[in-house]
């Protein structure tokens, strides 16, 4: 009944305005509000948008759309508004809104672009809804629905309902229906319709559903005395419970005027200050007032004299609030609606909780794959060969910079990434081989000194990168098909780039296993690692094997660099962010075993996300406690999760 009445009103309104519009052009409407349009503030713009939308002129939609897209310009000489199209950097073609015809061009200096901020753009979007809901262009219809979802208002409901019938696109129709139900929850006045709409969202994970339901359930806590009969009470509360602290209860009672306040410490002090007479307050000399007890005494005497309000030293807030009753009351008056909403939201929250766990697990998995990717090269050089390569992080960085350089030469992002991966491998492989030949092979007998020498290489490489590429971060952009995220629902989603890193990590796990178990190089590497002299006497050239193995580990670090650069940043310090974590990943997992590294990365990734979940406001703390945990873990399992046994364990 009410709905049809509203529709009738709207119809009447539009008839009226169109009748008025006979002799007005859209430019007149704009000129009427020229000042606030130029001022462009969300607080004042409302009347202008309403006037344009309600003008009933055919050009209204065009104007609003042009305005929203920042295509509306004002000519400074006469203040007229036009849609402007850029001809070149300094001249613009002006188009009249009413006729859609060009009225000549103008220099940019004579024009002022209107730049509605996103708040105003949202208001324009909401005003456009009535025009766009039935627009022949499906894109516009989607825009209208998006505008409703962002800034829905009661007036959207009738046109939306009216437009569902004639909707031809099934996808948009479904969207319209959902949007209609969301609007019903918030704005319909029919209780049954609302309850029905609410119940329709049981178990739904959509963020919009929660955004519609939660406002229905807003509550406030009030003193239960003098509460009206009709109030929709959620529950009764006692002061000192989890949801109502004693202080809050006290403040409530004070603001309700039910109890008198006591003067606070600061108030009492300033009362003392304003009652100083002859170097004393109420007979207590100033010099003695450096203790709280003396101050209380002086204040009590003042209170007795009646100069200041009385203060009861035995006063406690707990006592003041005992016996008082409080209630949590819904803002929404209808009990049926709140009950339905509570029930629906409970079911939603259960589903959301479960999905948040999945989402967290995905994050953990993703972090684990990043750590794994960063550490896998190290699992070869440190894990298999026992070389402590502090420059490992710089190899990662070199890989990332290779990606950047390739992107400068090959502008197509997809091709450049495909090129960058083998090139990064080649560059860091060469760097690794060079380092092995020049430095590390002299130090195989002195493992702790490789640490120092490679640290030297690390700081030299870092500074070199700064000298070559500058200190600014460099862009490494992922191809378009890696943009965005795979969303399972509004709660669980993971970006494609992270999925790509995950797959890359799996590929490298496979490659590592293949090389180590199935190829001659792998066999020789294992032989050389276990007993170099024996291997040499079997005809293996340990020098060559060491060189190739080290190059392989370094090369993989380079590819990891491309991946890490894609998802984070490319700077000269990229590598040092990962080096300590990488070593810990390998050590926690157990040196010399790729599965150990995998487990180590998984454990660290999940652990960190788990701690972040416990303390969402401080990510730094999560990292700290993760490392502390690793330290303790190593104390109890010094050889890592998977400890090599027997002869292979070496030592």
């Amino acid at each position: 009944m009410l709905r049809s009445f509203l529709a009738a009103c709207l119809l009447l309104l539009s008839c009226l305005s169109s009748a008025q519009a006979q002799d007005r052009t859209i430019q007149d409407v704009l000129q009427e509000h020229a000042e606030i349009i130029a001022q462009s503030s969300r607080r004042t713009i409302g009347p202008a948008i309403d006037a344009i939308a309600g003008s009933g002129l055919p050009a209204a939609q065009d104007v609003l759309q042009a305005w929203q897209a920042k295509d509306m310009w004002q000519r400074e000489s006469d203040g007229l508004f036009f849609k402007a199209e850029r001809i070149d950097s300094s001249t613009y073609d002006l188009i009249d809104f009413a006729t859609g015809e060009s009225v000549g061009s103008a220099s940019k200096d004579d024009l002022e672009q209107l730049k509605p901020n996103s708040g105003i753009r949202a208001m324009i979007g909401a005003a456009l809804v009535q025009f766009q809901l039935n627009d022949p262009d499906p894109e516009r219809r989607r825009e209208a629905l998006l505008a409703i979802q962002r800034d829905g208002e009661a007036s959207h409901l009738p046109p939306l309902r009216a437009s569902i019938e004639g909707e031809t696109d099934p996808e948009i129709k479904a969207l319209k229906e959902t949007t209609e139900r969301l609007l019903t929850i918030s704005y319909d006045s029919n209780e049954t319709a609302r309850v029905q709409a609410i119940e329709g969202f049981k178990g739904s994970l959509s963020l919009d559903a929660r955004a519609a339901l939660n406002p229905v359930l807003t509550t406030k806590i009030v003193s239960a005395d003098g509460l009206s009969e009709s109030a929709n009470i959620k529950r009764e509360l006692r002061a000192g419970s989890r949801d109502l602290s004693v202080e809050e209860a006290y403040d409530l009672l004070v603001s309700a005027g039910l109890i008198e306040t006591q003067p606070s410490l600061a108030e009492r002090k300033s009362a003392l200050e304003s009652n100083i007479e002859n170097g004393a307050v109420a007979g207590v000399p100033l010099a003695e007032l450096s203790t709280q007890a003396a101050r209380d005494r002086a204040y009590a005497s003042l209170a007795q004299e009646g100069v200041v309000p009385a203060f009861d030293p035995n006063f406690t807030m707990e006592e003041a609030v005992t016996g008082a009753r409080f209630a949590e009351v819904y803002d929404e008056p209808s009990e049926a609606v709140t009950d339905a909403a509570e029930a629906t939201l409970t079911s939603i929250n259960r589903a959301v909780g479960l999905n948040q766990f999945f989402d967290l697990s995905l994050d953990g998995l993703s972090l684990a794959s990043i750590y794994f990717l960063a550490a896998i090269g190290l699992a070869i050089t440190f894990g298999v060969m026992g070389v402590i390569n502090m420059a490992h992080g710089e190899f990662i960085m070199m890989g990332a910079y290779t990606g950047y350089v390739v992107q400068q030469i090959v502008p197509d992002y997809t091709v450049s990434i495909i090129l960058a991966i083998p090139l990064a491998f080649a560059v860091t492989f060469a760097a690794g081989v060079a380092m092995e030949r020049l430095i590390i092979r002299w130090l195989y007998n002195r493992p702790l000194e490789t640490l120092l020498a490679t640290f030297g290489v690390s700081i030299a490489l870092q500074q070199l990168a700064k000298n070559i590429f500058g200190t600014q971060a460099r862009p490494l952009t992922s191809p378009g098909w890696l943009d965005g995220a795979l969303s399972f629902n509004d709660v669980v989603s993971i970006s494609y780039i992270r999925i790509a890193i995950f797959i890359l990590a799996l590929i490298f796990l496979g490659v590592f296993l293949f090389i180590m178990k199935k190829t001659r190089l792998g066999l020789e590497t294992r032989a050389v690692t276990q007993n170099p002299r024996m291997a040499a006497s079997m005809g293996i050239n340990p020098d060559k094997v060491n060189m190739l193995t080290f190059g392989l580990g370094s090369g993989i670090a380079g590819i990891a660099g491309v991946a890490i650069g894609l998802y984070a940043k490319v700077t000269s310090e990229l590598g040092s962010d990962y080096i300590v974590q990488s070593f810990m990943t390998v050590v926690v997992g157990g040196v010399g075993n790729i599965w150990g590294t995998l487990l180590g990365a998984t454990m660290i990734g999940f652990l960190q996300k788990g701690i972040e979940w416990f303390n969402p406001s401080n990510t730094l703390a999560a990292q700290t406690y993760m490392i502390v945990f690793i330290i303790i873990f190593i104390q109890f399992r010094p050889k890592g999760i998977i400890a090599l046994k027997g002869r292979a364990a070496g030592d």
Binding site: W442, L451, A453, F455, A460, Q463, V580, V628, I634
Partner: protein
């Protein structure tokens, strides 16, 4: 004087240190010609502290064979402990002065609240965390300089050595420790002012009237004295039977254990002792530097410490001193922007850009070609040569150099 016999370098060192201290004093702005600026005196004083912690590093690495990459954590903790008192006492004076004009004299709790607001207002809070309980007392904080790092080292070392974590694993573990500690201190919630750390430490409480010219020299003397003491302690430790045992642990831990020594006990003692020495170094260093913050104990600082010792020459105490002094002074020179650019025609080498490259490469070169470091030069002079082993590794354990071998 047994100790002099076993440490022929000791009298040379004492004499050199004394001459150096006197020379600096007579060239200082406070007590001499003013040829050395106060900022350079501070640099020299700090360098002495670094030499001190380098000796500690040499004891634990060069003599005992534990490559700890976490000793700067103890150094920093020492600085934090003394810094807490310096900040508290300085702020207390300011607060009491500004409150003296109040109409009503302040209560003790008002004073402490105001100090809290002053110290923590900078980082957006105002209450004293629990760890500042003793900050008002100089002697308590001095005790904590020794106790906090000492106990941390004791607990950490006991856990690590008990589980027989050795070699590279221990290095990485100690590195993780210093990383965890610096990350913890980076948090504002840690109560030590987060990333800002403790600052203004060069202003000694109640010494506003005394010029930094004088204070810098006093700290220089104190640092020199502490370095001397440390050198004596280190020389004493390494020259006796104890020294033989720890060198034995370095060369072959298992054999020493089979001989019946409690290897873990020896290691723990050295680890804890050097942590305490490092902490004392830190307590002297940071009042000269003026500020301590968590970045000071980031893992890289401890790696640099190892590098100083390596460059100076491991396994000889004066080597550590030379390494720390040399690298830190050369660093100061090159980052000062005063080193002249080298124009190659097609490219101008700016030392600010290339200094770190040079430093990094010199680590590599020293490790490869001069494993004995700068200290090895003295061997050339005194004709102490390593025996030619025709490519075989030196000593029973990798890389160790036994004394009698070195004697030829």
């Amino acid at each position: 004087m047994e100790i002099f016999k076993k440490n022929p370098s000791l009298p040379v060192f004492i004499a050199a240190l004394a001459i150096f201290t006197l020379a600096v004093t007579f060239m200082s702005e406070a007590y001499g010609t003013g040829a050395l600026s106060t900022s350079f005196v501070k640099t020299l004083g700090k360098t002495l502290c670094l030499a001190l912690v380098a000796i500690a590093m040499d004891l634990v690495w060069g003599y005992t064979g534990i490559l700890s990459l976490g000793h700067f954590a103890f150094f920093g903790l020492g600085g934090y402990m003394i810094g807490m008192w310096l900040m508290y006492a300085r702020t207390e004076i300011i607060v009491i002065e500004s409150m003296a004009n109040a109409p009503i004299p302040p209560t003790p709790s008002e004073i402490s609240d105001a100090i809290g607001t002053q110290i923590f207002g900078v980082v957006g809070s105002s209450d004293f965390p629990l760890i500042w309980t003793f900050a008002h007392s100089f002697w308590a904080q001095i005790a904590l300089v020794v106790l906090v790092p000492g106990i941390l080292a004791l607990v950490f070392g006991w856990l690590a050595f008990r589980s027989r974590v050795t070699g590279v694993y221990l290095s990485i573990l100690t590195q993780a420790m210093t990383l965890a500690l610096s990350l913890y201190l980076f948090q504002n919630d840690s109560g030590l002012r987060g990333n800002n750390g403790l600052s203004g430490l060069q202003n000694l409480p109640g010494a506003d009237a005394i010029s930094q010219d004088n204070i810098s020299i006093w700290f220089f003397w104190a640092s020199a004295f502490a370095l001397l003491l440390t050198y004596l302690i280190a020389a004493f430790i390494v020259s006796g039977k104890f020294g033989s045992v720890i060198r034995g642990i370095r060369d072959d831990e298992a054999r020493v254990r089979f001989l019946g020594y409690s290897v873990e006990g020896f290691k723990l003692f050295v680890f804890t002792l050097t942590a305490v020495i490092a902490a004392i170094g830190g307590a002297l260093y940071y009042p000269q530097a003026g500020i301590i913050n968590p970045a000071e104990i980031a893992p890289i600082a401890s790696i640099y410490l190892a590098v100083w010792v390596a460059i100076g020459g491991r396994g000889r105490i004066y080597g550590a001193v030379i390494g720390a002094g040399f690298v830190s002074l050369v660093s100061t020179y090159f980052t000062g922007g005063q080193a002249p650019d080298i124009n190659l025609g097609f490219y101008t080498i700016k030392w600010v850009d290339w200094w770190l490259v040079l430093l990094g490469l010199s680590f590599v070169l020293v490790t490869l070609f001069a494993p004995k470091g700068i200290g090895g030069l003295f061997d050339l002079i005194t004709h102490r040569m390593s025996p030619t082993r025709h490519g075989l590794p030196l000593g029973p354990d990798k890389g160790s150099l036994r004394e009698e071998e070195a004697e030829k």
